[in-house]
């Protein structure tokens, strides 16, 4: 019974949070560009716009190209979406409030996030479309490259906390870690942006170069799944950054309001993700790889050394 409630709660978060983030993106992006965004759906400032979009996507024809590899093509959106659901299951919201408390939570999260590259390659290869393929290959290079700084910076905080359990990391967190782990937090956040293919790291999609990258051939509900995966991705990366580096539920009155603090921090990070999207243009492919291998990987390695040094001094 307890398990059922937890799973239902995670399911609800999985369905509601991305929509909220999506709506915030609509509105924040519009106002940052001097517009007002959707105003009609739901009568009050377009709050139901994403629901209306969902209904529209359901009505659309689900097309599978003739030359496509049907099973792989149709399976890819699920593969893209499902890992994020698993990740959400392990993220603690408040003290004791977690879908499933695993001792190897961080390890599972990083392993499961790596499945994203499989979905990208599946959709790219199965589409039988050169733009999809180009996008997929770009995506593979990007995701594999950025996996390394992501894992290294997460390892730093795991070493600092001395545990791989996500609630354990939050419990071990102290405010001064904000400075101690700042480089790792920055690297994790940037690498996370690249992992979920958000602008300015959206080269695999790159709508001005590759039509829509690996999503070119998708329509209807399957396309909506990919879009949903993008927004769940924002939630997941924001939540992981919060839990690992921003102290999760820590804050005033954390016994009662812990869950609120986590949510506030998650939405703050999500806002920054949207903010970066509006502000910066897409990086070039070589700049992308340069940033990863010449900046993020050395910084995260240096952070590991720093973590070990400070840890042995304590």
């Amino acid at each position: 019974m307890d398990l059922l409630i937890r799973i239902l709660a995670v399911m609800a978060a999985f369905l509601v949070l991305p929509l909220v983030v999506g709506q915030i993106e609509h509105k924040v992006m519009a106002h940052m560009q001097g517009r007002v965004g959707p105003m009609y759906a739901g009568a009050f400032h377009g709050w139901a716009q994403l629901i209306a979009d969902g209904v529209k996507f359901v009505q659309k024809e689900d097309i599978t190209p003739k030359d496509a590899d049907r099973t792989v093509f149709q399976l890819a959106p699920i593969v893209a979406l499902f890992p994020y659901l698993v990740v959400l299951l392990t993220i603690p919201i408040g003290p004791g409030l977690v879908g499933q408390n695993l001792d190897i939570g961080l390890f599972l999260v990083l392993a499961v996030l790596g499945i994203g590259v499989v979905a990208v390659l599946m959709s790219a290869w199965a589409s039988a479309n050169k733009y999809s393929l180009l996008g997929g290959v770009r995506g593979a290079a990007q995701l594999l490259g950025y996996e390394l700084p992501l894992v290294l910076s997460a390892a730093s905080v795991a070493m600092a906390a001395g545990t791989l359990s996500l609630p354990g990391i939050v419990e071990a967190w102290r405010p001064w870690w904000l400075i101690w782990q700042a480089p790792a937090a920055l690297v994790f956040f940037i690498a996370g942006l690249a992992e979920i293919r958000r602008p300015p790291f959206d080269m695999p999609i790159a709508d001005s170069e590759l039509v829509f990258g690996y999503l070119t051939e998708y329509s209807g509900l399957r396309f909506a799944f990919f879009l949903l995966a993008e927004y769940v991705g924002i939630v997941v990366i924001a939540a992981l950054t919060t839990v690992l580096f921003l102290g999760g539920w820590h804050g005033p009155y954390e016994e009662q309001l812990g869950w609120l603090w986590t949510l506030v921090k998650v939405f703050a990070v999500a806002f920054v993700i949207i903010w970066l999207r509006v502000t910066y243009p897409r990086l070039r492919e070589d700049q992308l790889q340069r940033l990863c291998w010449l900046v993020l990987v050395p910084v995260s390695l240096a952070q590991l050394v720093l973590t070990v040094a400070v840890k042995s001094l304590l």
Partner: protein
Amino acid sequence: MSETPGKGLLDGLAVTLKTLTTRATTQQYPDVQPDLPPRSRGVIALSEENCTVCMLCARECPDWCIYIDSHKEEVVVPGAARARQRNVLDKFDIDFSLCMYCGICIEVCPFDALHWSPEFEYAETDVLSLLHDKNRLGEWMRTVPPPPAHDVLGEPSKEEATAARKAAGPGAATAAKTARPAAVRPRPGAAT
């Protein structure tokens, strides 16, 4: 590269954040009527009685979207040596599916028969319905705003100046005497 590295990135973030906090200038059009500037080019109105069928508008129109037909009518003036003729407008159509709203027809009209009206809600589901005949064009006259007031610092119009001079009597100051030296092009042969 004399600037601090990363300053450009932060400046960019500041710009978007500032725009976020300033109010959007969007006008919610179907709910709220837009406040259009006074010389908005919405639709062209025709004042039929001013038209002399001189055809200048139809000939100057860059995409030939004005169609004019007319016939001559004899006007018998009692006491005159012979009957006068005048043009009567039969057809005056503007095809707004072709019109590019350049306003040249309104500029060239010597008798103020054509006017800009700010009305713009005349979209049609059939492209052929965008051909407005002279009755439809005449109806737009009701929506033509009054002409803007004269510039208080400008010269008075010729008619006003003449009337004032006549009222003041001979020898009074004329516009030619009081006006600042203007850049008048010398007429060929007038001054040698």
